[in-house]
Symmetry: C2
Subunit: 351 residues, 2 copies
């Protein structure tokens, strides 16, 4: 990056070490390697590690080897395992890579940040969450381009909780650059705000898809034979691996309860109106239509339209409908700029 | 059709007159005309009628003209208007086309059959419902191929309620042939069974999509900015015209209430389990996953796979995952064969 001419770059100042090579970790390794940035990985499964090596990637099935190498090369470590493995990994990072900064890609940020604090690692951690699909999983599902145009949340609570060190700010910049380098759009968000938002737009959709799949199935073979687009789309994510759906929803239970309660109120009101003398779903349907149209207007450019809604257009981001806010991390007002970006769901560019 | 050699044909014995040229009626007119079968139409809007004529279709904006011509040519009349227009059309059919048989494409069959009975037209009516999308509407949304591989429900209650006339059986055969001719797969179902099934797999998905769209939107711009595939797919049909969604759901309110109550029970149980000391959505997620997998197995061939699940493979239907039952309408056991087909959601072929 160039602070003088304010040209945006996506240079990451250090190698990247990815722990866990499933859909997200594997795709990240592919994109970074393809783009020419030094990246290596660890996968617990020797056969998956072998498969990755056979494709020419720099991968080991020894966690200790990966972490010792990360420490030697001062790598940026990415925790790309499911939630249940995070606690043990933090322990190992302290032991084998005591100087490295790290980020994660877990879909719930509150619980991870809690563990990071328990291990006293706040000054070495920046939370992350790429909004990329989970219906398929494992190294074999990984691919180049998975993050293209996707939102990648980067958290910044540590900059509010304390005056962060320069090394933390440098780490934060590198996490932003890594996400940008693989084509994602970085949306800053605080841990709690992130968790409340994804409960609504990611975890709740899973819960409703599961319920719809069951009620359709209860209709027997006639119902399944008649099922068309609305049922197919409405139940698609019920095909996600149950363990992944459980990990997301249960880890984020408090925020998901709020979203679910709002949904139950809407559905109970609709039920009452359907059961009235003059059955009506007008209130629900009119409000739902308005909401969907608002969402479509916001996301139209992301789904292939060429009309741009950007305040500014950054390099390679002509298609984005998200406004962009450019700023210099560490400058006096940078945290308030981050909060401003969070409030409007803006993507950021750093210089 | 050839009763001796039992070869299946899709010959319709009379011209087709389509009343209402929206997505369904317009697409039907296109496909029939393209396939070389005589078909003409009526549309209330003079500008849409003109647009159809400009494309070379045989279309008028005079309902009386269309019905008088149908009577002269002994055409099969298709009611392709929304539910609210049906009652008036039945009145006009009695007046201007007193000899013609007719079918409809309304997504709820109980209410239409009730009106048909009120008008004393049971022996001239066979109910129909093509399971084709409703997110876009109007003549401009119509297209060739809309019904390709889609289920097209044909009702048969009249054959249970009474011993039907030969002219009703001939009408029933022509309705089946019309649906088959435009590429649809005919699923026989009784009115009540149809309405219960579509409440689960078509109307409930709309209700859940509306609720999800609202709860996501309530999360503000951060939530909408983070929304990805699960929210996009889960809310897609909330973009349907509110008047069409209301007409479907409100007309089928009794069956929809049953489906909605099952859903509310599942969601309330999930809520209780999420709020427990050890939050869990395991029960819901495991059952939802199994249901979705069952649906995928049943519909895999329909969505592009080449593996066939047919008991028999009929002409042009190699891709179908639905079992097929072949029989001769009017034969001694034909109604029990229809019930058997309904029970397993089978498509039928007549000879």
């Amino acid at each position: 990056m160039c602070h003088t001419c304010q040209v945006t770059t996506t240079d990451i100042s250090r190698p990247v070490c990815i722990l866990g090579l499933g859909l997200i970790g594997g795709s990240l390794l592919r994109d970074l390697t393809t783009s020419g940035h030094a990246a290596f990985g660890y996968n617990r499964s020797p056969s998956a590690a072998r498969a990755a090596r056979a494709e020419g990637f720099d991968v080991t099935d020894s966690l200790e080897d990966a972490l010792r190498r990360a420490e030697e090369e001062f790598a940026l470590i990415v925790l790309a395992t499911p939630m249940p493995a995070i606690d043990a990994l933090l322990h190992d990072i302290k032991k084998y890579a005591p100087s490295c900064g790290f980020t994660d890609v877990v879909s719930v940020k509150g619980k991870v940040y809690e563990l990071v604090k328990q291990h006293g690692l706040e000054d070495r951690y920046v939370g992350g969450h790429p909004m990329a699909g989970t219906a398929d999983s494992g190294w074999r599902a990984s691919k180049n381009g998975l993050f293209d145009g996707a939102a990648w949340v980067v958290t910044f609570d540590h900059a509010l909780d304390t005056r962060p060190s320069q090394s933390w700010i440098d780490l934060w910049i590198d996490v932003v650059h890594m996400a940008t380098r693989v084509g994602a759009e970085v949306i800053p968000a605080r841990v709690d705000h992130h968790d409340a938002a994804v409960a609504r737009i990611s975890h709740l959709p899973h819960i409703l898809a599961e319920a719809l799949a069951i009620v359709g199935d209860n209709g027997g073979t006639l119902a399944l034979s008649l099922a068309a687009g609305s049922f197919r789309d409405g139940t698609r994510v019920a095909g996600s691996a149950p363990s992944l759906v459980r990990a997301m929803c249960e880890t984020n239970h408090a925020a998901l309860l709020d979203a679910l309660d709002e949904t139950l109120t809407l559905l109970q009101d609709a039920r009452a109106n359907l059961d009235a003398d003059k059955p009506s779903v007008g209130e629900l349907v009119d409000a739902g239509y308005r909401s969907r149209i608002r969402y479509e207007a916001r996301s139209s450019s992301r789904s292939g339209s060429t009309s741009g809604g950007s305040v500014h257009s950054g390099p390679g981001s002509d298609m984005s409908a998200r406004p962009v806010i450019r700023f210099h991390p560490g400058a006096d007002n940078w945290v308030s700029q981050l909060i401003q970006a969070e409030n409007v769901g803006a993507r950021i560019e750093v210089f």
